[in-house]
Each structure stands twice: as C-alpha cells, then as structure tokens.
C-alpha cells in the first residue's frame, strides 16, 4: 500500500523513481553530467549516482548560474534526477527547476522524513501536490 504525502509545488511536472535522501545541501554543478555521480568529496552522496532518483535534500547551494547549468547538462546527457524534494527552496534552485522543467516540491510533512527510506519507489505529482511512496520497495 502506497503511503501518500502532501507537498507544495514549486516547479510543475510528474516523476517516478527511487527515493535518495541526503542531509547535505546540493549543487548540480558538482555532479558529473557523464555519470550522474556526485563529485564533491565532502558530500554525503560523494560517488553516488543521482540519475533517475527522486532526490530529497535540505536546500540547494552554489552560485547563481551553476544550478541551472548543472541541471541543463544533466538533462542533455540523460543523467538527471527524476524529481526534487527540498525543505527550503531558494530562488536559484526554484528558477532553474522551473526553466528546465524539473519537478520540484517542498513542505513535506515531518512524517515523510521519519518514515520514508532510501531506495523506496515514489511517484511525485508536483501539480497535484502529492508524493506517493511504496514502503520497502
């Protein structure tokens, strides 16, 4: 039985993929567009691929151009994440997601963070404001 959580749309769209959580803020420019792997060695996800994932992170970081270009290059190479879930959305991340059609939501309930786990299959509907998670899958 999928557990459905409410969320708030920042950038429209629908996405399906495995959840990937990180406690560290994320900069898309520091993900290799060829492999989809995080290349920032201080990052919790260093060496891991974000391709096709519903990426759950606290907020974006990095300067005002690199989020957009990082995301654009990941899309060109087909290595981008499927969707994004954040706690705090800064304008740089929001504008990048909107312009490059990457579903982005925030305001997930605390229960989501306590219950959902890495690798669980999730369906994000930014327009409908829902995130449905299949526990244990």
């Amino acid at each position: 039985m999928a557990q459905t959580y409410t969320c708030h749309k920042i950038a429209k769209g629908k996405a399906k993929g495995e959840l990937l959580f990180t406690k560290d803020p994320l900069c898309f420019y520091l993900i290799d567009p060829k492999t989809g792997k995080v290349i920032e060695k201080e990052h919790e996800l260093y060496g891991q691929s974000i391709t096709g994932k519903i990426l759950v992170f606290p907020y974006g970081k990095g300067s005002s151009v690199v989020q957009a270009d990082g995301l654009y290059q990941l899309q060109l190479s087909g290595m981008s994440p499927a969707g994004l879930v954040v706690e705090s959305a800064d304008t740089t991340l929001a504008a990048s997601a909107i312009i490059f059609d990457m579903p982005l939501v925030n305001r997930l309930p605390q229960e989501f963070y306590e219950t959902a786990k890495d690798g669980e299959l999730a369906e994000l509907d930014a327009d409908g404001g829902t995130l449905a998670v299949q526990p244990g899958k």
């Binding site: 708030h8 749309k9 920042i10 950038a11 429209k12 803020p25 420019y29 520091l30 290799d32 290349i39 920032e40 060695k41 201080e42 606290p58 907020y59 974006g60 970081k61 990095g62 300067s63 005002s64 151009v65 690199v66 989020q67 957009a68 270009d69 995301l71 654009y72 290059q73 060109l76 706690e87 705090s88 959305a89 800064d90 304008t91 740089t92 991340l93 929001a94 504008a95 990048s96 909107i98 312009i99 490059f100």
Partner: protein, 399 residues
C-alpha cells in the same frame, strides 16, 4: 497572482514570446512562493556565464524579441584578446563567448563583465528593490547596503531585467529580513582572509537562515566581499547582519526584529584554521597563482604591486579584475610593476571560464575558496592562503 494590465499583457504575449517567457517564469516563481503580486525593480545584475544553459536561455529570450526594460550589468565572461596573448583560445570557446555577447547585447544588457557591480556602475541605495544574481553580489547589496533582492538565479534576474518586475516575496519583505541565528565570532579576524574562512565555515554551523554576526569590527570592503562570496558558496546565504555595522543591525537597532534567535553558535580561530586545512591542497611546489574571485579591487592590486616591485615571479601569476580597475592599475603604475615581475592583469574574466585550460592538471595558489570550489570539475588543485602569503609563494615557487 494579481497582475497589472501591463504585466498581464506581457504574460499574454503582447510584447512577443521572449518577454512572455520571462513573465511566465516570474509568475511560476511568484506562485511557488505565494507572492501576492509583482513589484517594480530599479536595478538588475545578471550572472552571465557563457555556460550552455546561460546561452540557451539568453538566445531564447533574444530570438523571442525580448529587450530589457531595466538594463542589467553582467558578470565576467573572458577577454579573448588578453587571454589569447597568454594561451591560444580554442575556436569552440571563442564561438560561445561571441554568441553569448551577441545575445546579451541584443537583449540590451550593459556589458560590464564584472562580478563586483556593487563597487562600480550598479550601486543600490538602502531599501531599493532590485534583482541581483551572482553569489558574491547578492549578500553584499542585501547586507552591506540594505537593498532588497532575493537570491536570484542568473535566469530569474534576466527575466526581471526584461519585464522590470519581480514577485513580491522573500527578502523583499521586512519580516523575512530578520536574523535567525546569532553567531558569536571569537576568532581574531585580523585580515581579509579571515573573512574568507568565516564565510566558508559559518553555514556549516548556522544552516539555512539569516546569520547575525557579533564581534566583527569595521570590516574592510574586501573583507565584506569575501564574507558574502564564501557564505553564499559554502552555503546558501543571501543576507546577513553584523551587529553595530550593517544598516539593518544599526539603524534599526535590532537585527532580530524583537524575536529571539533560533540558535546561537560560536566560531573560534580554531574553526577558521580547521576550515583552511580542510579546503587547501598540501603545500610544496606550486605551478601558478590566480586571484580575483571576486574581481580584485584596486587596493588589492596595490598590495601585490608593493610586494613585488623589482622582483620576479617564479610561476605564472594572474589577477582578474574589472576593466575599470585594470585601466586604473595602468594609470597608477601597478600594471607595469606586475608585468615587469612577470604577472598579468586580465579584465572581464572569471576563473570559471574555459580560457584557463592550460592550467588544468596543475597546482595553483589563491586566497579564495570560491575560486577553488568550481575547479573540482577542472582537475585543478589549489593551495588556499592569505594574499600576502600567496604573493610570497609565487615569488619563490613554493608554499
């Protein structure tokens, strides 16, 4: 969102598809942040970058007939003429520079190619509502001047330049400018470099929010440039206050606006030293020195000139700055001193540009963690040290 007739006309395509796209992006941002309406902006700064996404979006707006209502100043690209004299610029890189220049010029941007617009040509006043991208510029205009901008992406700032408006939300509102975290600085803070480290280490302790620094006395403009640049690179900080110094922590008196800080943290000299150790490559032989992230001021150029007069650098030595500062350096004799020592001053150029390929795989020295941050993608390694130590190392070839 409630739109004026003019804003609705832009959104409906009355001014062409470029302006329409710009307005639609701003409406989407406004809706994401529950903004009730748009407000006019009086200044804009766009972090032009020559990157593929930058060119793609600027050309899309330009081809759609957009023209800036509030003409932006722009971030550095690279100066092909000056760089070609140092190392041949590849044809593909040359093409992207020319195409980006053409697109922005057509949009009506003011082609300043400088990441410190707040020091020259685009200086806002207290309370002015503006749209500034560029990670080092946004905290400076918000915090030091008390102007009001959100942490704009290059693209959202360009949309505001085209339409002349921005959604009313975030740091444009009084209540969102209140401090969240009180940061007691117990480090010595004796040089501009200490502010680089403070800026880089602070977000790891404060998290997402508006830091209020206590214990900083009369920082120089270079210290403030460094603090903002690193706060917004190491973290995501578009606004901070310094008790007794920045306008919203001085004129208003209470940077917390009557609320209690959500948390208090302390930063010590050990924190700054630890951060430097974590960021820097090990010492030893260096291959080059690179400065100007953000663009160096004339005072920083003077510091270097005084140190190297009559001496020779052991390694290639580059300073990136604005065209105005480079011209000033020529008039004031610093340019000749640096040249005689074997150094170069390059205008309109950023380290995050493809023109530095001849340095890939080598080890450099710089005073700026931000300078080294993006080079993770470029197989470059940097020792990070205070400016004076960097200059000494460049004279010896060893740090």
């Amino acid at each position: 969102m409630k739109l004026t007739a003019e804003e609705q006309a832009m959104a409906d395509g009355k001014y062409g598809p470029g302006t329409q796209l710009a307005m639609q992006v701003l409406i989407a941002i406004g809706e994401a942040y529950d903004a009730p309406y748009m407000v006019p902006v009086t200044r804009t700064h766009v972090a032009l970058s020559n990157q593929e996404a930058d060119l793609w979006f600027a050309e899309k707006l330009a081809k759609g007939g957009a023209h800036c209502r509030v003409r932006p100043t722009v971030n550095p690209s690279f100066n092909p003429e000056q760089l070609n004299a140092i190392c041949p610029v590849e044809a593909a890189d040359m093409e992207i520079v020319q195409r980006t220049h053409a697109a922005y010029n057509q949009l009506g941007a003011i082609m300043t190619y400088d990441c410190t617009p707040y020091l020259e040509r685009n200086v806002p006043r207290y309370g002015e509502v503006i749209s500034f991208s560029e990670s080092s510029a946004t905290p400076f205009v918000n915090s030091v001047y008390g102007a009001r901008t959100n942490r704009e992406a290059a693209q959202s700032a360009l949309c505001s330049a085209v339409t002349g408006v921005t959604p009313y939300y975030g740091y444009l509102l009084d209540e969102n400018r209140a401090g969240d975290i009180l940061v007691h600085v117990e480090a010595e803070m004796k040089s501009d470099f200490d502010y680089q480290m403070l800026g880089y280490v602070a977000p790891s302790k404060t998290g997402f929010g508006v830091p209020v620094f206590d214990g900083l006395e009369n920082p120089t403009k270079e210290s403030l440039m460094n603090l903002g640049a690193q706060l917004n690179t190491g973290g995501n900080v578009a606004l901070y206050h310094i008790i007794g110094f920045t306008p919203e922590a001085k004129v208003w008196g209470d940077p917390f606006q009557g609320k209690k800080p959500k948390k208090e943290v302390t930063i010590t000299q050990a924190d700054l030293d630890g951060m430097q150790k974590e960021l820097t490559a090990p010492g030893g032989k260096i291959d080059f020195a690179l400065f100007g992230c953000p663009h160096f001021t004339i005072d920083q150029v003077a510091t270097i000139a005084q140190m190297v007069k009559g001496q020779q650098f052991a390694v290639p030595f580059f300073v990136m700055t604005s065209s105005l500062t480079r011209r000033l350096a020529q008039k004031m004799g610093y340019f000749d001193i640096l040249r005689a020592a074997g150094g170069e001053i390059v205008e309109d150029t950023c380290m995050d540009q493809p023109c530095w390929k001849f340095l890939y795989g080598k080890k450099g020295i710089t005073d700026s963690p931000k300078c080294t941050y993006y080079t993770k993608r470029r197989q470059m390694e940097f020792v990070i040290a205070p400016l004076e130590e960097c200059v000494e190392a460049a004279l010896k070839g060893v740090y």
